[in-house]
Structure formats: C-alpha cells, structure tokens
C-alpha cells in the first residue's frame, strides 16, 4: 500500500524523462544503430566508420573541425582569461556595463555574425576596400573565405561566452589571498601561477569544454562560408540528411556519432583533469 503511494509520487518525474528519452536518448541510440548498417544491404558493418578514417573528404572535414575547435577554444580561453581579469579589476559600474556588453555580444552569433564579417572582411568588405584604397592588399595575408577567416569568426563568438563564464571564477579568487601572498613576498605572477590559476582550474576546464562543444557544433556561422571550399563536420553531416542529393543516412549517422564522440571525449577529458587536479580535499 505504502509502496504504491510512493510510486505515485514519482509520476511528476515522468514527463521530463519521457521528453529526454524520446528526443535525446532514442534518437541518439537509433543513430548509433544506423551508423553500423550497410547502406546497400542493411547488414551490420564497420565500413561506415572505416570510410571516415580512409576517405580524404571525411579526413579533411574532421581535421578542419578539430583544428578550428581546438584553436578557437585555446585562443578564446586565453583571451577570455585576460578580459575576465580586466573586467574584475574595474569598478562596480564599469563591471556591470562590461557584463551587459558581453551579454549583448554573446547573442551575436550564427548567421548575423557571418553577414557582419562579410561586411567588414568579405571580398568587398569595407576594411578590404579601405585598405585597398590606401594601397594595401589585405587578401595577400588574410581572406575571410579561408580557414583563418573562420578561425577569426570562431574566436569572435567564443570571447564573450568565455569571458562571461570566467568573470565569476575570478570573483571566487579571494582578494585576501592576494594580500597574504603579497606579504609573503610573492610577485603577482607567482601569485597567479601558484594560487590564482590552480584555484580557478576547475572553472577553466569547464569553460574549455563548453567552448569546444560550442565550436565543433557551430553550423549557422559556417554554413554560407564553407559549403564548397572548406568541409567541416556539422555542415557535411547536415547535407547528408537534408541536401538536394539522395540522403546518405547510414554514412551521415556514422559521421554524426563520430562528431559526438569527439565532443564527449573532450568533455570527459576535461572532467577527468578536473578530478585529477582537484586540490583542497573533501570538506569535513
């Protein structure tokens, strides 16, 4: 009797569970299953994954995606670190103004970001034209429609996100630790390397994982820029399901799972590092 009533109390948890099962777990599981099916015969096979590692199209897409994601995450994290530090050094008013600016810019991603970059750095972008007018050919060193162009855009959308995540992490670094270290004759550099950054490490790793996931799944920003010239995983995957050509569901599934595995691997490594480097012991 009591058991039954206890189970009844669990009913409110069902809708969330159902939603998650139907729209996260089932689709992913079915995708995993499909990725092991042969497109021709429908039999079980590893060939789809083999193709990812052997076919140069997929290799290039993978390495492009990895390069862009890692480079934009690392550069973005380092720059965000300094921005967040600087924001934290500001007075109260400056701080809240900067935070709302960062918040505002963090909405500026995807298609709008792409068009804005076309305006300033596209083939007829105003920077390009202005520089040309004074005799400098920007295209000799930088082109928007290249992997560096993509990298710049990625860094652009990583910065506000990274900074917004790291500002609270800096606030968690107690100012009295700085004072104590100063009195114990540590330089600011020694303080940050020996105390500040180690204390912030969990937040830094969390931010790294989030920025990476953000970069590797970026689709809207890159869609119009790369369709032909630079293959990237998200775009490749999407065209295999929705393109004008006949859908390649099995191969696409394998590629999607591949991308998800990369992303999960990075997240897991970050979490593992967080556990390994955690200092401070359990609370009593």
């Amino acid at each position: 009797m009591k058991k039954v009533r206890n189970l009844q109390k669990l009913i409110p948890l069902l809708p969330l569970l159902l939603l998650a099962i139907l729209f996260i777990f089932l689709p992913i599981i079915s995708m995993v299953q499909k990725s092991f099916l042969s497109p021709e015969t429908g039999a079980f096979t590893f060939n789809n994954y083999k193709t990812i590692f052997t076919d140069s199209v997929y290799q290039v897409a993978t390495s492009n995606s990895l390069y862009l994601s890692f480079a934009s995450t690392i550069i973005g994290l380092i720059l965000s670190f300094f921005i967040a530090w600087a924001v934290n050094e500001l007075g109260k008013n400056g701080q809240s103004r900067m935070l709302s600016m960062l918040n505002m810019v963090s909405n500026f991603a995807g298609l709008p970001l792409y068009f804005s970059f076309v305006v300033i750095l596209g083939n007829t972008g105003i920077f390009v034209l202005a520089l040309r007018a004074i005799g400098i050919q920007l295209s000799t060193v930088f082109r928007l429609y290249s992997i560096q162009g993509l990298l710049l855009m990625f860094i652009y959308f990583q910065l506000p996100l990274g900074s917004l995540m790291l500002v609270p992490a800096f606030q968690a670094v107690d100012s009295s630790w700085k004072e104590a270290a100063e009195i114990l004759e540590a330089s600011p550099f020694q303080f940050w390397t020996r105390i500040g950054i180690p204390v912030m490490l969990p937040s830094l790793l969390d931010t790294f994982a989030l920025l990476f996931a953000n970069a590797i799944t970026a689709y809207a920003t890159v869609l119009l820029l790369v369709t032909t010239s630079i293959p990237l995983l998200p775009v490749k995957i999407t065209t295999m399901f929705t393109g004008e050509m006949t859908p390649q569901k099995e191969m696409g599934s394998a590629l999607a799972i591949w991308m998800i595995i990369i992303m999960l691997a990075v997240i897991c490594i970050c979490n593992l590092l967080k556990k390994l480097t955690y200092k401070g012991g359990e609370q009593v």
């Binding site: 009295s176 004072e179 104590a180 009195i183 114990l184 004759e185 105390i195 180690p198 401070g280």
Partner: protein
C-alpha cells in the same frame, strides 16, 4: 626613537578621511592592540602599516627606517587576516612553506622549519590536510604559523579571532599571547572586542572615528576611561550627566558627564567614609556567570550594579536598597 612610529598619518578614501592624523609609537616586543568599533580606522591603520594601503599623508618608521613608501614585500612583516586567507589549493605544509619558498630558501631548511612552527601552534598532525578539512580555529593557527615562520619584524593580526566561536576564541587568545611572549615578537592586534583586548595586550590604543581616543595599559584603560566614548566602549559603565549626578547624591562635577563602574555601585548597609549614599529599587536582575547585575531605579535614574554571585544572598525585584559609591570611583569624563 621607538621601534615603530606613526607620524601624523592621514588616510582618505575619496572624500572620506578614515585616519585623521595618527601619532603612535610602539616598543620592540610589545603586544599592542588597536581597539574600536567597526569603521573607526583601526584596520586601515594596520593595512597602511602592512603596505596594502598607501597613506595619504604622514610617515611610518620601523626600526629606524622610513618605510612609508616600501612595498609590502620590503617591509618584512607577517599578517594574519580575519578570513584566514589560507590558499585553498595547498596543504597546511605548503601554505606554511610558501613564504620561505618565495625567498628561495633551501628545501631541507624549509621542511624542518615548517615542522617546528606547526609544532609551536599545535598542528603537527595536520601537515597534509587541506584548509577545507580544518576547523576555523585550526585554519587560523595555520595562518599564524604561515606568518611567524617568516620571522617578521612585526606581526599584524587583523581581527583574527572574530570568525571563531566563543569557547575556542578564549583558548586561542591565550595561546597567541603565549606564542608572542615566547618569540618576543612585536605584535599589532586589531579587534573590536574590548574583553579580547584586555586579555591579550600590553598596551591598548582606543580608536574613535579616525583618531586615537585614549592609550594605556588594559588596567589603566579599564579603570580610568577619560572620555564618554571610552567609558561607553570599555565595560558597562554607568554614565551620568552632571545634573543627574547632582540629583542622585548632591555632588557636582566640572565635567558634563561622569562614569561609574557597575562594580563600584556598592550594595552594603555599613556606610563607608568618602562615599556618597542614596537609595534605589531593584527593577531587573540578571545573572552573568560569576557576577550578578542589578538594574536599579534611583528616583528616575537608572544604574547598573554588579556584585559577586552568592547563592545565599539573592535580592529580589522591587527590593529597596541602600547604595553607596566611593567618591574616587566617580570618574570625570572630558
């Protein structure tokens, strides 16, 4: 010249002048307490001495050197903060060793020294624990160890015990004092707790809105407050205005106010010489450990009288009492 000297030290934050010309000397080996309510400038003076704040005007001397423009690093001082401020990513051992490592001392030397110091503060068994695993009292001992291992010229304690619960605080007070006396370390201690100041100090400097109100030994300050503020802040003095004093016992003072310690209000039938005599009715009884304090209404003037608690001589509410105060116990406040 004294070991430490503050000469006309001013400090302002914007338009807010927190220190209004402090002159203060401290002898070597002395335990000095800066006492006062929050916001009186006592912590600011300490931080100015440590170099964490710069002074707006004036000079600070330590051991004959003008250190006014020195960085904290150059001053060779130790400091313990209210919030412990232990580095959370380091063990007790690493925390304590930190300063010596910054000085690039020999590893072996550091290890030995850390053990010594932690023994002094009674934490030999916690070497490899992290701050989070320690109680507040233990954390503060580690902070103390981290400061004294540097053998600083001066030890600064910025309300180190305020975040620690009452019982433990008593123990730590005694212990800190003992360690200080053993090491003969010049110490400046900041607190808002007058009892703590009494227990620990050689000299107390009482602060009020950016100025020193009164300086002296604990006994001196306790028995002879010179101003209304001092009397109010130290102990639970009865403070009477001159007209009230006249009404109570017919005496008159040159000053506007007088202060009478609660223990000086005597509830005794035998009249003493050189005392004033009057009557009062008990309106409140409160037991405070070994003493008992009575609130007494003397014709509209409320007095507090403290006596030793004696089980067989309880007095009741509403009882009329014969009271007397020795004339010398009536302190005139400037």
């Amino acid at each position: 010249m004294a070991y430490i000297e503050f000469r006309n030290v001013h400090k302002s934050f914007g338009n807010n002048e927190v220190l209004k010309g402090i002159n203060l000397s401290i002898d070597e080996g002395e335990f000095v307490t800066l006492l006062g309510p929050s916001g009186c400038g006592k912590s600011t003076l300490l931080r100015c001495f440590s170099g964490l704040e710069t002074v707006t005007e004036g000079e600070i001397y330590l051991d004959g050197t003008n250190i006014t423009d020195f960085t904290p690093k150059q001053r060779k001082i130790g400091m313990v903060f209210q919030q412990y401020s232990l580095f959370p990513n380091m063990t007790v051992r690493q925390n304590v060793a930190f300063g010596l490592q910054m000085q690039k001392k020999d590893k072996h030397f550091i290890a030995e020294k850390v053990k010594d110091v932690l023994h002094t503060v009674g934490l030999s068994d916690k070497l490899d624990q992290y701050p989070r695993q320690l109680s507040g009292g233990q954390q503060q001992r580690v902070a103390l160890a981290r400061a004294i291992i540097m053998e600083p010229k001066v030890l600064l304690l910025d309300e180190p015990l305020s975040a620690i619960d009452a019982l433990l605080r008593r123990n730590l007070q005694v212990e800190i004092r003992k360690i200080q006396q053993n090491l003969k370390m010049t110490t400046i201690f900041v607190t808002h707790d007058q009892e703590e100041a009494m227990v620990m100090s050689d000299t107390i400097h009482l602060f009020n809105v950016g100025q020193i109100e009164q300086s002296g030994s604990p006994a001196d300050i306790y028995t002879h407050p010179q101003t209304k503020f001092a009397a109010n802040f130290i102990g639970h003095y009865n403070i009477l205005s001159n007209p009230d004093l006249k009404k109570l016992c017919g005496l008159s003072s040159d000053c506007d106010f007088v202060a009478i310690r609660p223990e000086a209000v005597l509830i005794s039938p035998e009249p003493l010489n050189d005392a004033v005599h009057f009557q009062g009715k008990i309106t409140g009884v409160m037991l405070r450990g070994t003493t008992i304090s009575y609130t007494i209404d003397c014709d509209g003037i409320e007095l507090r009288a403290d006596t030793l608690f004696e089980t067989n001589r309880q007095r009741n509410m509403g009882e009329m009492l014969q009271l007397q105060i020795l004339k010398e116990d009536i302190l005139h406040l400037h």
